[in-house]
């Protein structure tokens, strides 16, 4: 395929996408659920790609994403909640005078959230990145629990509002803004992955010892990946805070990290497009497509006994196990989306059917 064809196709795809988004945005009332799902997916996509940067591209098994999201979300919220409504947010214990008037414009507050997460990553990364795979996983998981415990503790009441959580967080003005922020974040990470540093990360994933022998400083590069990943997890946290408009420490439980990890696995470790695709698929199926499992099902007047609340999550986890066991590489493996791949697929489909027919004939 010629390069120009590819560019034209890409532009066309983006245009169609934009048109769909604009249409949804214009008819906000009718497509509220779709918009919510797309927004949530976009936010999860940012965090999933940031996790993939570590787990899939650098080969560091980190389970601390929720902790960094929490740092980002709280930093953002503290700086972005309008000063006028702060008194009512901190109704129980009052607000610390230091942050009482610290209000930043929203974009700056989001970046501040990311930077704070990155700062924490820099501090803890130095010691814990020396640890090997599983130990690193469990240490980062522990870190994220520590963050949560500190945020919720009564000692932090005047800053994080302890158990009461934060609310009145400024929302996203519209769908397009969410997509735009997510797209910028993911684009930067893609640029990084394709840069010389990204190649060095991949080298570390492939073979640490060989990478080091090729002059790639392990600690320095792991640290860089960890900080950048945490920065975007922090931004993702800030986005989640804007999306939810009220947060508390329980939002950032280990389950959140697991959810993100599942997206990364289903999408394929080491594939950005896989993560993005999986973020949308997983969110949509969890929130919408599988919801009917939770409702009583009546077929011909007979109610099917299994359909009751909770079945949706069981079905979802079974699907997940199937992916983990039988499609270990996920949707995309380590590959990225290409037009050639897509067309190749279309060409294959007729063959697939042919193949089936032959088998049936036999």
């Amino acid at each position: 395929m010629k390069k120009t064809t590819r560019i034209i196709l890409s532009i066309a795809a983006i245009a169609v996408l934009l048109a769909v988004l604009l249409f949804l945005q214009a008819n906000e009332r009718d497509y509220g659920m779709v918009i919510t799902i797309i927004e949530k997916s976009a936010i999860y996509a940012v965090v999933a790609v940031s996790m993939n940067l570590l787990n899939g591209f650098t080969g560091l098994f980190s389970l601390g994403q929720a902790g960094f999201m929490a740092i980002g979300a709280y930093t953002f919220s503290i700086l972005a909640i309008p000063a006028s409504s702060r008194a009512s947010v901190y109704y129980a214990t009052g607000i610390n005078p230091i942050i009482e008037h610290a209000e930043l414009p929203i974009p700056l507050a989001m970046i501040a959230g990311g930077l704070m997460a990155a700062l924490f990553a820099a501090v803890i990364g130095f010691p814990i990145l020396r640890l090997k795979s599983d130990y690193l996983a469990i240490a980062t998981l522990g870190f994220s629990e520590i963050v949560r415990a500190i945020i919720a503790s009564p000692q932090m009441n005047t800053i994080t509002n302890g158990s009461f959580g934060l609310k009145k967080i400024p929302e996203f003005p519209n769908l397009l803004t969410v997509i735009l922020v997510a797209a910028i974040c993911i684009a930067i990470m893609v640029l990084l992955i394709n840069s010389s540093y990204g190649r060095a990360f991949k080298a570390i994933r492939e073979d640490e010892i060989a990478a080091e022998a090729m002059g790639i400083g392990l600690l320095h590069h792991k640290q860089t990946a960890f900080i950048i990943s945490s920065f975007f997890a922090g931004i993702g946290g800030a986005m989640l805070a804007r999306f939810m408009r009220s947060i508390d420490s329980n939002t950032f439980k280990i389950a959140l990290t697991y959810d993100i990890l599942l997206i990364v696995v289903i999408g394929g470790m080491g594939s950005v497009t896989g993560s993005v695709l999986a973020a949308f698929l997983v969110t949509a199926s969890k929130e919408q497509w599988l919801r009917f499992f939770d409702e009583p099902l009546v077929i011909g007047g007979v109610s099917v006994p299994f359909f009751k609340t909770g079945l949706r999550m069981v079905v979802f986890s079974v699907l997940l196990m199937v992916v983990v066991l039988f499609f270990r590489r996920g949707i995309m493996g380590q590959n990225e989306f290409t037009w050639e791949g897509l067309f190749g697929l279309f060409k294959k489909i007729p063959n697939l059917f042919k193949g089936k027919k032959k088998k049936e004939a036999i």
Binding site: L191, A203, G215, G217
Partner: protein, 280 residues
Amino acid sequence: MSENLLHVENVTMQFGGVVAVNNFSMDINKGEIVALIGPNGAGKTTAFNVITGVYAPTNGSVSFDGEEIICNFPKGKMKKLYAGENNGVYTRTIEKTPDKITKLGMARTFQNIRLFKNLTVFENILIAKHLREKANVFTSTFRLNLAEEKKMKDECNELLDILGLTDVKNDIASSLPYGQQRHLEIARALATRPKLLLLDEPAAGMNPQETIELTQFIRQVKDKFDLTVFVIEHHMDLVMDISDRIYVLDFGKMIATGTPDEIQNNQAVIDAYLGVQEDE
């Protein structure tokens, strides 16, 4: 006498109670091809790993190009356990990590090929160029170093061309035939622009024909890139053919050193390889 490039002094490497390398010293001068030989388990690769910074030696020091890059002495638990010589001679600890040592101009290959298997041949080489990059992570991400990036890629293409790997440029490294993987590993080491090239059994698993080709390849590379080469090898034909000097290790100790001719006629070496004849 030409200029000294690598100076290894009294290096001892002890794992628990096992002394893998015992009081090993050697020198390599610029422009030489030096070989390290010895029976299996003699400690050759361990010595290599000490020199390249993978293991910190228990005792001893290594200098490269006039700079001391490694120095250590027994401490902690090793203080009691130490079974080597020259205890107390060294009092400083210098531990350069392998990447720093590579940056100084020492590049290596591995006994059991360690390529970046799932990446392409071109990427494998390009990654080795990373260490000379001046751009930081931001300028690199936002492509503010286009000129440098282009230069890196051009150099890689040139290198592939010289080494005859252009045809397989976009193949996945693990899909190459064995011999080519060996060549690629050497090419990757060369991409770091080393002064000293360390080859760990480059001819392992090769048939005689391939070994001859490899011999020529090493010579050619050495001349073209103005290298000093340090090689561990079992194929005696290759070693005797290309080496200027040879060091022989047995049970961690150096038992002989000299030119290929001297080594071939050295009784200790013959005993080590063939086993000492019992009195009859």
